[in-house]
Amino acid sequence: MPSRTRLFPRFGLRAKVLVVAFVLLAIPIAGWSYLKEVERVLRVGQEQSVIATSRAVATALHDRPKLLDLRARTDEGTDPATATLPGGARPVTPDSRAASEEILLIVQGLGRSSGRIWVVDRKLNLLAIAGGLKRAEAAPHRESAWDRFVTAPLRPFLERVLARPTEDFDDALPEEAIAGGRDVASALDGVPASRWRHTPDGRAAIVSAAHPIWHGEQVVGAVVVEETANAIQSLSSDALERLVSVTLVAFLIGGLTLLLFASRLSGRLLRLRDEAEAAIDSQGRIRKLITGTGAHDEIGDLSRSFSTALERIAQYNAHLESLASRLSHEMRTPIAVVRSSLDNLRMQPPPDEARVYLDRANDGLARLTTLLTRMSEATRLEQTVRQADRERFDARAVTAGCVAGYATVYPARRFEFAAPEGVIELDGAPDLFAQMLDKLAANAVDFSPPDAPIRVTLERRGGDAVLTMANSGPTLAPEIAGRLFETMVSARRDAGSEPHLGLGLYIVRLVAEFHRGTAHAENLPDGSGVAVTVVLPLAGARVPQSSSPATARSA
């Protein structure tokens, strides 16, 4: 098969289908944005619930001036930075303990396991704090089979990509959160507010809602309720994990299926291409296509239409090959007319001036007859080959005899013969083999200069006998080299005195095929001439079932 040089790297069917498979990525992208939307809604819900909690706590503290008045008096003169409560809250002075404890009681009663509630007065003094931001480590939820077998193995990889919420964050209540919170400021102005912020170490998001505590028409403090968004985030990241794993598996299965499909398609197409390329071999024979001719799809159609086209070529070739035979047959009658007329003329002595023309006519007729003989020789050989008896014979003896004979046929030429000792036995017809040698010799003589030797070698190579006839002389043009063995193809450039029809090497090919072998011609490596090589399987050697030409030549 000829290798093709390409300008661009090959972008095959498989690669294309794989690229198309990336369309599947739209699914996880859609899923991801949907998840984000759900998360947003959940956060809004959480915010609302936090606001509701803060309102409830504030309601419990409304119009209880004693608690907060007490606080208001005692907090003057305290240094906010002297001590830190657990949770980073401001210190509560012993004087205010009673009031604080009461607030604490109320607040704790309303406290939530996952939330932190604190109360500040107008001066931003922390009056009470309860609860914590950290949740108890969530109990492992029941894993489905999918989680166990698909998501779990992927988890180490997923955790690197997706940030899971952690309970390991800094839950200190920074000064900034109390003093600088917009929500607190807004609540002290009498308007409930909420806001999102991050923990100081940035590891968790916190939603906080502040609600004013009223005393009459006056704001005396604010209740702030805080919660982390970890619950939502862990839900969301669980879902993301599943999404990624489902997508990966789907992509893997889809991609593999597509790849298999594409491989099968491209495999069939490649086979069809290879067969189509090999359908017409270098000797012009045509083989039938096998791939996909029975398939009921487009490739089957393609293969069938290839087959039809090849069949037409085969018919045309058969027509060409029978042309010589039919021509020789059809020409014989008019030539007989001319010949018998000339013979008649000659028998009644013609005038001298007419004799010249008679001789010329005879010369022309002789050439025509030679042509006719050559043409019918090929035709006869085609018939002979079809019904010749096979026998075992020693190709070495026949070749040696023939080469010795050429010394008398071509006295001006030197033939050199080389062959290994021993018998080289072929299964075929020695007459045909000798006829093939004659054609090869005539061919070599025609093309070589008179003083150059013609080398004939016969050797064993594997299970084959290899006959080579090499002569120096003009080399073959590459465009004709592959077609030399077709009927009526000739590489001769000059029209010599002898008529040539390009049938000699066609006969060589017929005989080679009769012996289940092949013939080919190539230039000598040093470019000094041409070698015709005939490879024939030795008698007894295993012969692969030779594929016969697609159509039998018509008689």
């Binding site: 047959h329 059809e330 009658t333 010949r339 018998s340 002979t384 026949v398 083999f433 000798a434 006829q435």
Partner: protein
């Protein structure tokens, strides 16, 4: 009394040319274009020799049928096929039907005349007693040069004229190699090499029918054939 030759040939030009040359050489000629016409003429009077084409106008094998009918009328009448068809199959069919020779149309007229006179000689002498002076003997082979008859160990071998001339050319100088070209000129034919090969093949087969151990003709590949010295 001149010999009568019948020509059955559908091409008018060839028919006329052959008739002319035969008449000029003293033969009486009756020319026919098709099988019906020829059979009508043969029914009244048989010719002394018949030259038949195989394809006759609308009948592609008309000549073969004609040969069969003629042979049925006379076992000795010399019959020559002169045709454009040169395949081995046609040659074998024609000779099997009892024709004495099978020639292709590129045969020249002098060659044709030589054959016709040889066939007449063979037909005439067949009735007379054999004479020994014209006998060529090579071991079991005996060639009667006048009658064109061949025997092998006394057994007659039925050869066509062409085959006889080839055997004669080979046996005249046993041990000498005859190239195909030499055989062609000795047999007065112009054919391609493979036709000579099939002639020799047929000759061997005919001798082998008389003697299965026959192997007097050697093939020397690249050179030709040789009659073995006994």
């Amino acid at each position: 009394m001149p010999k009568r030759i019948a020509i059955v040939e559908d091409d008018p030009a060839i028919r006329a040319n052959y008739a002319d040359v035969l008449k000029r050489h003293g033969y009486e000629v009756s020319a026919h274009a098709n099988r019906r016409e020829a059979m009508a003429a043969f029914a009244t009077k048989l010719p002394d020799l018949a030259i038949l084409d195989i394809g006759l106008a609308d009948e592609i094998d008309g000549g073969f049928a004609l040969c069969r009918e003629l042979r049925a009328m006379s076992a000795t009448l010399p019959i020559i096929f002169l045709t454009a068809r040169d395949s081995d199959f046609d040659t074998v069919s024609g000779l099997r039907l009892g024709a004495d020779d099978y020639l292709t149309k590129d045969m020249s007229l002098p060659h044709l005349l030589a054959r016709i006179s040889a066939l007449f000689r063979r037909a005439d002498l067949a009735r007379e007693a054999p004479q020994t002076e014209d006998l060529l003997e090579r071991g079991p082979l005996a060639l009667d040069m006048k009658r064109f008859a061949v025997t092998w160990s006394g057994q007659p071998v039925d050869l066509t004229l062409t085959e006889f001339w080839i055997v004669h050319s080979l046996a005249r100088h046993p041990g000498h190699v005859k190239s195909r070209d030499q055989l062609m000129s000795d047999a007065h034919i112009v054919v391609d090499d493979s036709t000579i090969t099939s002639h020799v093949k047929r000759i061997r087969r005919k001798f082998a029918a008389a003697d299965p151990a026959f192997d007097a003709i050697d093939t020397l590949y690249g050179m030709g054939y040789r009659w073995k010295t006994a």
